[in-house]
């Protein structure tokens, strides 16, 4: 797996150089890749009242017979359960819909903010970046919880709206889809703004000046010059939000209603409340398969980034 690590300047890799490659490599194979194979295996098992709570268990001590028994015990029953039950199907569709709509909303909020930051006077830009990043450093859980304060029935949002006379009786915000969207947009905004800002900032201003000299109105320049050039940043930002939002747990759990169940909550319930590890694993495998394509595109955008920077 780990091949010869070759320093570019000389061809005999030292022990230190091998270690630098091997240690993180093996760590990720052991703690990131291998666990997925275990999830796959357990998703093909059946629930059992035992420790661990699934069957069959691979018994290597029994030799070939053990492996044969193990393979014979595997079944697709969990996948059949998932595909046949509306609860799971709706949960996946709901999560994809919420992720798609909130990514679009994040782009609508993120583009003006990132563009404004990139066009701000150069000395203020690092300060603006820090101000956008700072909330991201404070706890995600706390930031979602802060909205529970605001959105509850006698919370500040209703008080403000009543005071302004926009509504005559308190509206329900908490435990609705609107609350989930607000929570997601709020939590993921920095993830959207930073890649967008990076690509707007790198933009060659002579191109914008050329467009202006040729009489192109500013709004049109933005759509025909700026946005197409910033497309890699837009793509990176959108995927950096979309993929984790599909599997989001904390936001829908704290802000959403009991009737909106995103797939992350379904998995959580299967695991913690129902103690059904095989079904939880099958839910995870299907979620991973659904996200495979966006993850591949994201990987492509990112690794192209590394090699582009290497020069």
């Amino acid at each position: 797996m780990v091949g010869k690590s070759v320093r570019r300047s000389d061809s005999t890799p030292s022990l230190g150089a091998r270690l630098v490659v091997a240690a993180p490599y093996l760590w990720l194979v052991g703690f990131f890749l291998a666990p997925f194979l275990i999830v796959l295996k357990i998703s093909l098992s059946e629930t059992a009242i035992a420790q661990p709570p699934y069957t069959p268990v691979l018994d290597l001590a029994a030799g070939w017979q053990g492996i044969r028994d193990f393979l014979a015990g595997l079944s697709l029953s969990n996948y059949i359960t998932i595909s046949g039950d509306d609860l799971y199907v709706f949960s996946y569709l709901k999560s994809l819909k919420i992720a798609a709509l909130s990514t679009a909303a994040l782009l609508l909020c993120g583009v003006p903010l990132a563009y404004g930051m990139a066009r701000a006077p150069r000395p203020v830009r690092p300060l603006l970046v820090m101000l956008v990043v700072l909330p991201f450093w404070t706890s995600f859980l706390i930031r979602v919880y802060a909205w529970v304060n605001i959105l509850q029935r006698d919370g500040l949002l209703n008080k403000t709206l009543l005071w302004l006379g926009l509504i005559d009786q308190p509206a329900t915000w908490l435990a609705t889809d609107t609350a989930i969207y607000i929570g997601i947009i709020y939590s993921y905004l920095p993830f959207m703004v930073l890649p967008l800002y990076a690509s707007f900032e790198k933009l060659d201003h002579t191109l914008l000046e050329a467009a202006a000299d040729l009489g192109c109105p500013r709004w049109k320049t933005f759509f025909v010059v700026t946005l197409p050039l910033a497309l890699p940043g837009v793509g990176a930002g959108a995927l950096l939000c979309f993929i984790p939002i599909v599997g989001e747990f904390v936001i829908p759990d704290l802000l959403g209603g009991s009737d909106t169940t995103m797939i992350g909550q379904t998995l959580w319930t299967e695991f913690f409340a129902n103690k059904d590890w095989p079904v939880a694993s099958a839910v995870a495998v299907v979620l991973l398969v659904l996200l495979m394509a966006p993850i591949a595109v994201y990987q492509h955008l990112q690794t192209r980034g590394i090699d582009g920077e290497r020069r």
């Binding site: 780990v2 091949g3 690590s5 320093r7 570019r8 300047s9 630098v20 490659v21 993180p24 490599y25 760590w27 990720l28 703690f31 990131f32 890749l33 275990i38 999830v39 909020c109 003006p112 563009y115 404004g116 066009r119 701000a120 006077p121 956008v132 990043v133 700072l134 450093w137 404070t138 706890s139 859980l141 706390i142 930031r143 919880y145 802060a146 529970v148 304060n149 509850q152 500040l156 008080k159 709020y186 905004l189 201003h205 993929i243 984790p244 599909v246 599997g247 989001e248 904390v250 759990d253 704290l254 998995l267 959580w268 694993s281 995870a284 991973l288 993850i295 994201y298 990987q299 290497r310």
Partner: protein, 265 residues
């Protein structure tokens, strides 16, 4: 382009207001004297005083700090190695390696949490603080790797080459030349790993065992039951600590940069 248009000012102002208003409201209400979280009863420190008696919360906070320190230290070492591997070495399997560095950043936490838990069960490792540390290290080393890698990519190799031409062995060159130059990125990576670990609810919930409660798990179990003034106070302390650390780190970084001649663009 020195003047900024008014639309841009409005966009920035609205964006920042949206990002900061909820946090500001939370902080203000943590000083509310009233037990009713929605009624303002004047300024008071009573919820902070109440926290001092909440043994379970203090224990969870201390446990979280320990887990965060251990996992961030491990993640910083592994992440820096990974960044060096990506930028300095050509080896077979480099692309899958890069993929494994980038994937955890977007992987939904429920999947990472579940898969790590099943691994720990499969190898029969007792669940507790150790398993949470291992899980957080895996998750956060990738963030460290990406921060350090971007610093290494825009780095003047001639200094390292000069040291090696003068007979400095590669390991020593790394310690005396490379490491001091990438130190700001390594520090930033450590802080990010620390704060991500301190903040994590989902992965910790999956990988922890009986008796090993971290602060987010504790806060979550309280928050599910509704808003409580004590929780506002805990959150305010949390925000104050993190904000101080981040601002301090960026000021140190700024003063270091100003003492050095500006690097060529």
């Amino acid at each position: 382009m020195t003047r900024i248009s008014s639309t841009n000012v409005v966009a920035i102002a609205l964006g920042l207001a949206f990002l900061y208003a909820p946090i500001a409201i939370l902080v203000i209400y943590s000083f509310n004297a009233s037990r009713l979280v929605t009624v303002w009863g004047g300024w008071s420190m009573r919820w902070y005083a109440a926290l001092l008696d909440d043994r379970a919360m203090i224990d969870a906070a201390l446990a979280s700090l320990g887990v965060a320190a251990a996992s961030a230290a491990l993640a910083t070492v592994l992440g820096t190695m990974a960044a060096l591997a990506l930028t300095r070495f050509r080896f077979r399997g480099r692309l899958p390696f890069a993929a494994m560095i980038y994937a955890p950043l977007v992987m939904p936490e429920v999947i990472t949490g579940l898969s790590l838990l099943l691994l720990f069960v499969a190898v029969d490792l007792d669940r507790g603080f150790l398993t949470v540390i291992l899980a957080h290290t895996t998750l956060t080393m990738c963030f460290v790797a990406i921060i350090v890698q971007s610093r290494l990519a825009g780095f003047d190799r001639s200094l390292e080459e000069a040291a090696m031409d003068l007979g400095c062995p590669p390991g020593r060159t790394f310690l005396v030349v490379t490491l001091p130059l990438i130190m700001p990125a390594v520090t930033a990576g450590f802080l990010l790993a620390f704060s991500l670990s301190l903040d994590d609810l989902v992965v910790a919930s999956f990988t922890t065992g009986p008796g090993a409660t971290t602060l987010p798990i504790r806060i979550y179990s309280e928050v599910r039951l509704g808003v409580k003034p004590e929780i506002n106070a805990v959150c305010t302390i949390f925000i104050a600590v993190v904000a101080t650390a981040v601002v301090a780190a960026s000021l140190i970084e700024k003063s270091r940069r100003e003492r050095r001649p500006a690097p060529p663009a």
